[in-house]
Symmetry: C2
Subunit: 294 residues, 2 copies
């Protein structure tokens, strides 16, 4: 099985590298060529257009910033669809709108290509270590064929349902992650301003019903002044924008996630978009006129 990977960014590059390490022959393409050359040095084959990747491989992956980019790479000029052939499998690791995933799958279906929307969770560290969580929508048979390749970069693969369902699960994931981040921000400000040590408070509550990944991992970094990502606030806003747009399209009430999106939008406006998504407490610091670490 020959694999193609298009989109060698923060996530795509280490994921592609893990596919290569697992022993699959790999063809790579990226708009900026530097990461292409890195992977060529690791043993990958270089391609210059998405259509060229599709021409040379059995399974084509994409990992791109947004719906428009994926649609362009699949359906546009020199796109994957131009060289697609029946029996091929297309797997998108990007986080994009569920509706876009469904549209792409429907177009590829006409050419006999099975599509999977397979967004991931676990961040750059998970991509490097090969411990990502993959949420899969689309053709279940195609998933079974592609599973050994997905295993190269993940520790957990869950099949959710038809096309778009992987993206819906990713939206659900980000609804919960953002809620935890904002709640952490609120409780830090709450503790500080009402007269308790915010760090001791997070230690006290982390073992009970409030336990969560965010409380387990973020307070130690925050109190150490480490606000580098992790997962960038700007990316969280991007993901929450997909959530909000999808909710609007389907008439879904998400009052809290919509509020969270507003808070992350405020982070971008105040120049904090490059910080970790746990740094959303800085928005509340401005509203409260205090600093947690002082």
């Amino acid at each position: 099985m020959k694999i193609g990977y298009i989109g060698l960014g923060l996530m795509g590059k280490p994921m592609a590298r893990n596919i290569l390490k697992a022993g699959f022959p790999l063809v790579v393409h990226n708009r900026s060529r530097e990461s292409v050359h890195e992977l060529v040095q690791d043993g990958a084959e270089e391609a210059y257009r998405p259509s060229e990747v599709a021409e040379k491989t059995d399974i084509v992956f994409t990992n791109l910033p947004n719906s428009a980019a994926v649609e362009s790479v699949v359906l546009g000029k020199d796109g994957i669809l131009e060289s697609a052939r029946p029996g091929q499998i297309f797997i998108d690791n990007s986080t994009i709108e569920p509706e876009s995933a469904r549209k792409i799958a429907a177009e590829l279906e006409k050419a006999g290509v099975k599509a999977l929307d397979a967004p991931v969770s676990g961040g750059q560290i998970g991509a490097i270590d090969g411990t990502l969580t993959v949420m899969v929508g689309g053709d279940a048979g195609a998933l079974e064929i592609a599973r050994p390749v997905l295993n190269a970069f993940s520790k957990k693969i869950t099949y959710i349902g038809l096309s778009g369902c992987g993206q819906i699960a990713k939206c659900a994931n980000q609804i919960m992650v953002a809620a935890q981040m904002v709640a952490l921000a609120e409780l830090l400000i709450f503790a500080k301003k009402s007269g308790a040590d915010p760090e001791k408070v997070t230690q006290a509550i982390s073992a009970g019903a409030a336990q969560c990944w965010t409380l387990d991992h973020k307070p130690a970094r925050i109190f150490n002044g480490e606000l580098t990502p992790g997962f960038k606030s700007a990316m969280m806003l991007k993901d929450l924008s997909i959530v909000v747009d999808t909710a609007r399209a389907y008439g879904i009430p998400i009052p809290s996630a919509a509020l969270d999106a507003q808070l992350y939008a405020s982070m971008i406006e105040t120049g904090d978009g490059h910080l970790d998504n746990s740094a959303v407490f800085r928005v509340l610091e401005r509203l409260a006129g205090i600093e947690i670490l002082k």
Copy 2:
């Protein structure tokens, strides 16, 4: 060391029973007498007024519904303060306003009594099993004296700081728990209405960055149709009201927790206050015009 326990409700009764089981002589009082008689059968001594409990014991616990009730039992007619003597320790296991805890501690201090605000987390099951988490504010020396008694009903005791700090930690705990419950509600509705199986979605996301106590424990119950508490929505609204009132008093921005309080208020209005706090998805079902389990 002779112990007193006032307030033998859903939480207080099993906590008092665990103190008794640990071998401490115990004097109990409760407005309704039935639970007093139960504990007398277990070996406790009966008292008829808070002042009588204080007269007979070295450490007096309270576990009552709200700030007004605790203030009345401590500072009111026939209250603890009437019989208080220097060296005594007062421990409040109720969830009340941090300001009220501080006021009570200041009044008791004048009589030489050391006060601890020591709200708990872990629900009725934790109270019965003796596995509660205790968040403590107040006199650190008094905590060391009382620790063997607290150990009778808890698995983790964290000292946070001066009077009120235990209540602040409890507020922080409820900010996070409510955020998880509301996020779970939103993502269930989101998945259902955009076309994915909500149960599979919760399974897919529970191992990654979205992991939390709520995702670990609640979806299985919800998809089994079990909405009995656990922890009642009406109690969550009570706790969030303390959060909102305290935030107003101190000028603390808690946009998300304030929204969560509104959603729980809506549950009470629509007759769902007796259900588990995870049933907040029913508010969104009404807004969305769908049912998750259908």
